[in-house]
Amino acid sequence: MLKAELVPNKDFFDSYKEAILIASATPEVIYVNAAFTQLTGLMLDAGDEKALMEILKACETATVNSNESHCHLSIGEKNAQVKPVNVSSSPLILSDLTKVTLFTFTRPGNNPASINDERKFYELADASPAMIFLEDKNGQAFFFNKAWLEFIGDSGDNRSDSKWETYIHPEDIKVTEEHRAEDVDRVPYSYELRLQKFDGSYRNIFVIRTPVTAEDGTFNGYMASCLDITEIEESQNKINELTRELKLANEELEQFTYVTSHDLQEPLRMITGYIQLIQKNIERGNLSAIQEFMDFVLSGTSRMQMLIADLLKLSRVNRKGAPFTSVDLSEVLNVALAHLAKKIKNTGAEINCEQLPVVTGDTFQLVNLFENILDNALKFTPLDTSPHIAISVTEADGKYIFEVKDNGIGIDNKFHKRIFAIFQRLHNRGEYEGTGIGLAVCKKIVERHGGDIWVQSEPGNGSAFYFSIKK
């Protein structure tokens, strides 16, 4: 004999406003709800079997040709009153997969509310891309839609006994329990958690829990709608990252434009100022300072040339970068040393180098990188001292880390970051010549090669420049 407990959504039927009767194929009445009892005075297991059977037969006859029909129903044996009702039938599958028939009765004139609405809801729920499940007032899940079954990889149609909690990421169980405690408030709320998909992967899920009320307004459980927001979050993160990069690039560009225009203006101002001064002095017949003023004009023009040449170098790093090839850094170093041959000879520098590896990169830029760093090491040496430079290499985290160590004047800790920014000079032009662009170029080159550049140094104790290049 079939048990009423096998009826899915029984909670829903129990509190349903219209009368409901469920019959097996035998035929046998296996369930009636409270509204049915109220309408007919009949109950299951209360000696009313005969009367119930008569109603069932009437229902079957009435709906044999269409699943919605009209029949007369006798209400209560005592007053034997007969009232017309509309009856409709629909197939229902019990949780043991037995097929049964659901009869719904509506009084004529009554809005034939909504077993149909309810069925529509299930259809809609199945059409929804969101995973939806319903819980009864005890928190027991009794309906899972198609999207949910697909998510957990349930190929059958087992809608009712899924313990959805078993799919929660272990780390999210606590937070879920904390949120579920809010159920007592009977208000909608939402939160995020991770649920495991059938393929074993955890997805980020946004859950909206909405309380469901019965027709009479009493609390009847919760509906949970779950959205897989993993991809949305991933693309949002990607967008955020790109936006941040774009912002940085913009800031860099703004800084570059500002610094550049400022530094280019200065020699131009010198040239203009001193030419006017020369003109004035010639007019006054005072020729004594002309030569000195002329030197300022000339140093202005050569400085301007130098700045423009350096700016071109910097812009070429990204604009004119060559495709990466296999590069033997020992050869790169030899080319760089050849470029610096004159300075090395003049300063009497001694340069030692370990065996350097082969990397993937831009030969021209890597020559430039070594040349700039070595040039600094040669330049910033105390007077009457010969530069000693040692180049070595180590490996860490899939990168080669190069060290160029010198015995130069060293750099105060507070300047260790600033020296890699464009046009930052720590020294007066009189002391050490330069535009302050060399290390900015190095930084750009190293970044293009997926690495970093930094320095360890203190005044008077030489400097060690480090840069990393992806292996």
């Binding site: 101002r269 010198m270 203009t272 100022g273 001193y274 006017q276 000195e292 300022f296 720590l426």
Partner: protein
């Protein structure tokens, strides 16, 4: 303090400027002025503070009446110098005139928020530059009253 004509006090100016061309231009511009001004020059931000605090090689330095401060300086930039001067109990009374080529809003705003007394753009033209130097003299040495110390 009074620097009017005939006064024995000579006004002292500290020029903080790293560009030798600008230093010389300022000297030339001062030559054309009526007031005799004593000009001290330092060429980076650290030296400026050493001079003002009479540290290191500047133990004999004499406190200036005004400071002409470039912003783009090696070692310590002009804003950092300004910040330290204006945070110093005694030095903060010295008017600081920012004299720079930067017309960037953030530089101007930053300078004033660190209590620069005024902010002047270096003109490109020498005559205009000389005019600016003269205006500085007239205003700071002939018009306003400066504190004694």
């Amino acid at each position: 303090m009074d620097f009017a004509k005939g006064s024995k006090q000579k006004p002292r100016v500290l020029l903080v400027e790293d560009n030798p061309g600008d230093i010389r231009l300022t000297q030339e511009a001062l030559k054309e002025s009526e007031v005799e001004i004593v000009l001290d020059v330092v060429s980076d931000g650290e030296q400026a503070l050493d001079f003002l605090l009479k540290r290191n090689k500047f133990t004999d330095a004499i406190r200036p009446n005004i400071i002409l401060l470039d912003l783009n300086l090696p070692k310590k930039n002009g804003i950092e110098v300004l910040k330290e001067v204006k945070a110093h109990e005694s030095l903060k009374k010295i008017p600081v005139i920012v004299l720079t080529t930067s017309d960037a809003d953030h530089d101007i705003s930053k300078a004033y928020s660190f209590h620069a007394n005024c902010y002047i753009l270096k003109p490109v033209d020498f005559d205009d530059f000389a005019k600016v130097i003269r205006l500085i003299e007239v205003f700071w040495f002939n018009t306003v009253q400066l504190p004694n110390e």
